[in-house]
């Protein structure tokens, strides 16, 4: 039997606003519990919501970046359920008439991914393709508070700092894609949200969260299979693992002709055991009715105070930036791809270039040396200023220090944040460019390696390489290799 996996995603993205969705409280992460609260977000009697315009602006930006139709008039609803993290007993959301609808995001699937998908489907794979993931809707809503269960204490604490933080929920249409493709989509989406400065997308802080829906059907079937929702997914890696596990679970049940055992339910990803388990009814609060929100008027973009949000130009997105890096800086597609994966890195690269580094060299240094150091460290921000790296690259280009010495300097810069020139002076790493000095070293090496010189005379090219190595060694790596090579060749030919 050939199966097809259908995946739908519900992504909650925390908007990068300074105040909450419906009140003036701060959105600062990590504040002392219940200090960022007021009568409105605490659900006190008589509190009324007022809409944060900045949140609307960011949601519109997200909608436009994801090619959505913008509803000029949208509406808020109350989604009712009782749970201690929900101060008003309902969440204000946009159920009936969302701000954005009918968008899409194209993702590029690489060859291995394609093969994987197509093997499952049992068909020959075309080499590379673009998959369009349709986006059903993007709507505005508010976050709930956070329950804290202290260990070994029979109490539950509630922190309402998060209650009322502005979110957008992005809902994709169910698509026949692989778990890996789903994660590719999420990565691309994350990059767009970062580029448009809609969100920080810090998964570890919960500012990007994703629930997934999975169903399996026989290839060729029109009807969708039974949909299972999975929650508690905290990283892209976990999402892929959970999707793969759930895909397998459902396939097995279908193969053993127990399809009735696939029930429409919400399952929780148990990342320790690496399996999905049914959620206890208590884990998911029971949903009551969806009601109108009479405390907020219609969100009408035709309103004069809103119109300019629609005319605002979008910041450059990752894909656009990638193309520009290729055409403007002469980078390879691969280099541009990695540099533009995150806005932070792309901005850093351009900073280095704007400070005078050769674009191609800058890409090399960042992709090879800097990224290696960054990956090994705990730093969130790159601790080397763009200007300092540019200076270092120029010093190497101008032959002030050798490429190898440059690497040492960069490590030191990364550790200490010191200026490259200081490190070079301190460590005596400056390149030896004086012909006289180099001549002395060459003579000394030739004196000690008479055999090698004789071999060279007999026509051995290997011997020349060996001698060069000895010269570099004698100069502690600081000898300018080009000058040394010239002098060496000259000397050997005169022998």
């Amino acid at each position: 039997m050939i199966f097809e996996t259908i995946i739908g995603l519900e992504i909650h993205v925390e908007l990068k606003t300074s105040s909450k969705m419906f009140c003036a409280c701060s959105t600062q992460f990590g504040a002392r519990p219940n200090t960022n609260t007021c009568p409105v977000c605490m659900g006190m009697p008589g509190g009324l919501p007022t809409l944060n315009q900045e949140a609307v602006r960011l949601a519109l930006r997200a909608g436009r970046a994801l090619n959505c139709e913008i509803n000029r008039v949208s509406r808020f609803n109350r989604k009712n359920y009782f749970y201690p993290d929900l101060p008003k007993g309902y969440q204000i959301t946009q159920s009936e008439l969302p701000l954005c609808e009918n968008g899409y995001l194209d993702i590029e699937l690489d060859e291995s991914e394609k093969t994987e998908t197509e093997t499952t489907l049992g068909k020959d794979a075309p080499s590379r393709c673009i998959k369009r993931i349709r986006i059903a809707r993007i709507h505005l809503e508010e976050d709930a508070g956070k329950l804290i269960h202290p260990e070994n204490q029979p109490v539950t604490l509630v922190d309402y700092n998060r209650a009322g933080i502005p979110l957008i929920e992005i809902v994709t249409c169910p698509e026949a894609i692989s778990p890996k493709a789903a994660v590719e989509f999420l990565k691309e989406l994350k990059s767009i949200m970062e580029y448009t400065e809609v969100s920080d997308c810090r998964m570890e802080q919960g500012s990007l969260r994703c629930d997934v829906n999975v169903s399996i059907r026989k290839k060729g079937d029109e009807k969708l299979g039974t949909k299972v929702e999975i929650k508690n997914l905290n990283s892209f890696k976990e999402i892929q693992k959970a999707l793969e596990w759930e895909q397998l679970r459902q396939q097995k049940l279908l193969r053993t002709s127990l399809p009735e055992q696939i029930i429409p339910e919400t399952r929780r990803w148990d990342d320790i055991r690496g399996i999905t388990v049914p959620m206890r009814a208590k884990d998911g609060a029971r949903l009551g009715c969806i009601a109108p929100e009479p405390d907020l008027p219609l969100l009408d973009l035709n309103d004069s105070s809103m119109l300019h949000f629609l005319e605002e130009s979008l910041p450059e997105l990752g894909a656009q930036k990638r193309n520009r890096f290729v055409s403007r800086y002469g980078l390879s597609r691969y280099e541009a791809d990695i540099l533009t994966k995150s806005k932070q890195l792309a901005d850093y690269y351009e900073d280095v270039v704007n400070n005078g580094a050769h674009p191609k060299e800058a890409a090399n240094w960042i992709l090879v040396e800097l990224l290696r150091l960054w990956r090994m460290s705990e730093h969130r921000e790159i601790p080397v200023a763009g200007q300092s790296l540019a200076e270092l690259i120029m010093l190497v280009d101008e032959g002030e220090i050798s490429r190898n010495a440059g690497k040492t300097v960069l490590s030191e810069m990364y550790e200490t944040g010191k200026d490259p020139r200081d490190i070079i002076n301190q460590k005596g790493l400056a390149q030896i460019n004086s012909e006289n000095e180099i001549k002395k070293i060459v003579e000394a090496v030739l004196d000690q390696n008479k055999n090698a010189a004789a071999d060279y005379k007999k026509g051995s090219t290997k011997a020349a390489g060996y001698l060069m190595g000895q010269i570099m060694k004698a100069g502690e790596g600081r000898v300018n290799p080009n000058i040394a090579r010239e002098i060496l060749e000259d000397r050997l030919n005169k022998l």
Binding site: P39, M42, G43, M44, P45, G46, G47, L48, P49, T50, L51, R78, N80, F82, P84, P87, K88, G89, Y90, P154, V158, K282, G288, C289, A291, P292, P294, D295, L296, P297
Partner: protein, 496 residues
């Protein structure tokens, strides 16, 4: 003056004059006001909380200001009674419910801020139907309210405490809230003036919601003039209430009242004579004649949509209440059951709500939840379509007329205990009033006469959006011509 029980029964205008002429200090007025409440309110039950200390403190401050020759504001030294569903900073705000029995808001409602800025002094919080649900003030969790005109009768609801406090002469100004006629019906039963402003004209921030799309705070007074003054202070857009709007009409209260009614066109729906108490109908007819004599063009017309309003109101108000009251789970504040250490969270919330809310509130939450279930959504949709229908009908009516005149209530104040104040009856009693809430137009109730048994009869004037100016002008004319204003009920135990 004060020795004779005055300034009890004085109007805002009279008190202002008294302050101007230095007949009494603010402290004397507030002291006398508190004394009357503390001595005489016991049988009436108009107040849940009396602010003895804070009111006197505020009075002393104002007296100091007066001593320095400062302007103490347009409502300087005026005691105001506030319905107990309007939040007052550091003053218990209960909504007449066990659920909020000990709730002390750390914030003032916007209207309270406005009143305080104008120099008014909050004298106490008035009794009401629990969460404003009722039309007879019989559902208060704490005590019943008696009508000062006849203790055997209800004062109307849900703003019964505010209306009774005015009728008893305790205060010249009170705040009420009006979801289906609460201000107007209690004003009518107690023989005072009550205005439900245009929806959005007065901020709802700090008003404990019953049904957000219908609720509106309004002033209650003993004269139209006082009502106009109070409204001029309360109106205006509030950044804290997204449904409030910049006042979109002329409102020059000082000149509004005297400019007359000549040339106005008033329509009276024929439905107002059907199933209406005979004595009330007589008052209505008399008012019609008075207007005609004053140069107003009075015409009868048909407004059958009016009869659709009560059912639509019932569904919409209950639905909004069901979600609006969801926040009362007893977790962050409010009533929490003895079994609070019950590990079962659901059970705890259920018990908090079952024990904290009274029967009437629970009934409406259940109804409201029911009509919003997916399989029952047709009820709600029909109610919404009726609401649109009545909006259209009203728009048409205001193309022909400047104002619509009706009785406020189809019945006279009745005796408690016959369930008339509850659920369906509230809607039926609101036959003439709920229309203004469903459409958002302003409407005002003023005394239109007395029954042979001496019970007050109220008449309602409704106008187009933001026409409070015209509404008050027409009410002022009728008030002056009928000569009914400023009557105070005689309360037993009165030293006079």
């Amino acid at each position: 003056m004060i020795d004779k029980g005055k300034p009890r029964g004085m109007t805002i205008a009279e008190l202002q004059k008294g302050y101007q002429d230095k007949c009494f200090s603010v402290k004397e007025v507030i002291q006398s006001c508190l004394q009357h409440i503390n001595n005489l309110d016991n049988p009436i039950g108009a107040f849940i909380t009396v602010c003895n200390e804070t009111a006197l403190e505020a009075a002393e401050k104002l007296d100091e200001g007066l001593g320095r020759g400062e302007d103490i504001g347009p409502l300087g030294g005026i005691p105001v009674a506030v319905k107990d569903n309007i939040c007052t900073r550091n003053i218990r705000t209960t909504c007449a419910s066990r659920m909020l029995e000990h709730f002390v808001p750390p914030y003032d409602a916007t209207v309270i801020k406005l009143l305080k800025n104008a120099g008014a002094i909050v004298i106490g919080k008035t009794n009401m139907d629990e969460f404003a649900m009722g039309a007879a003030s019989c559902t208060s969790a704490f005590k019943k309210i008696r009508n000062p005109w006849d203790f055997s009768k209800v004062p109307g609801g849900s703003s019964g405490g505010s209306a009774a406090a005015l009728a008893a002469g305790f205060v010249p100004l009170a705040l009420g809230s009006d979801t289906g006629g609460s201000i107007r019906q209690s004003a009518s039963f107690c023989g005072v003036v009550g205005l439900k402003p245009t929806y959005g004209a007065v901020s709802r921030f700090g008003l404990v919601a019953f049904a957000s799309s219908l609720d509106q705070i309004g002033p209650m007074t003993r004269t139209v003039e006082d009502c106009a003054l109070a409204f001029s202070i309360l109106k205006g857009r509030d950044p804290l209430d997204a449904t409030s709007v910049e006042y979109d009409g002329v409102f020059d209260y000082a000149n509004a009242l005297d400019s007359g009614v000549k040339g106005l066109k008033i329509g009276i729906p024929g439905q107002c004579l059907e199933q209406v108490d005979e004595e009330i109908a007589e008052s209505l007819l008399k008012a019609g004649r008075v207007y005609q004599e004053s140069g107003v063009q009075v015409e009868w017309f048909s407004l059958p949509e009016m009869d659709l309003c009560p059912a639509a109101y019932l569904v919409i108000s209950s639905a909004e209440a069901a979600t609006g009251l969801a926040k009362y789970d007893g977790i962050r504040y409010g009533y929490c059951t003895e079994a609070a250490n019950n590990p079962d969270l659901d059970g705890m919330i259920r018990r908090n709500r079952s024990e904290g809310f009274g029967e009437e509130v629970r009934r409406r939450i259940m109804l409201g939840t029911y009509v919003q279930r997916e399989e029952c959504s047709s009820y709600y949709q029909r109610a919404v379509s009726i609401r649109n229908k009545i909006k259209n009908a009203i728009e048409q009516a205001f193309k022909r007329f400047d104002l619509i005149l009706t009785p406020t209530s189809p019945v006279l104040p009745f005796e408690p205990g016959d369930n008339k104040g509850y659920l369906y009856n509230e809607a039926r009693l609101g036959r003439f009033t709920v229309m203004a809430n469903l459409t958002g137009i302003p409407a005002l109730s003023l005394p239109g006469g007395f029954s042979r048994a001496g019970l007050p009869i109220g008449l309602q004037l409704a106008g187009d959006y933001f026409s409070e100016d015209r509404l008050l002008r027409a009410a002022y004319c009728l008030e002056q011509r009928l000569g009914l204003f400023m009557q105070t009920a005689c309360v037993e135990g009165d030293e006079a």
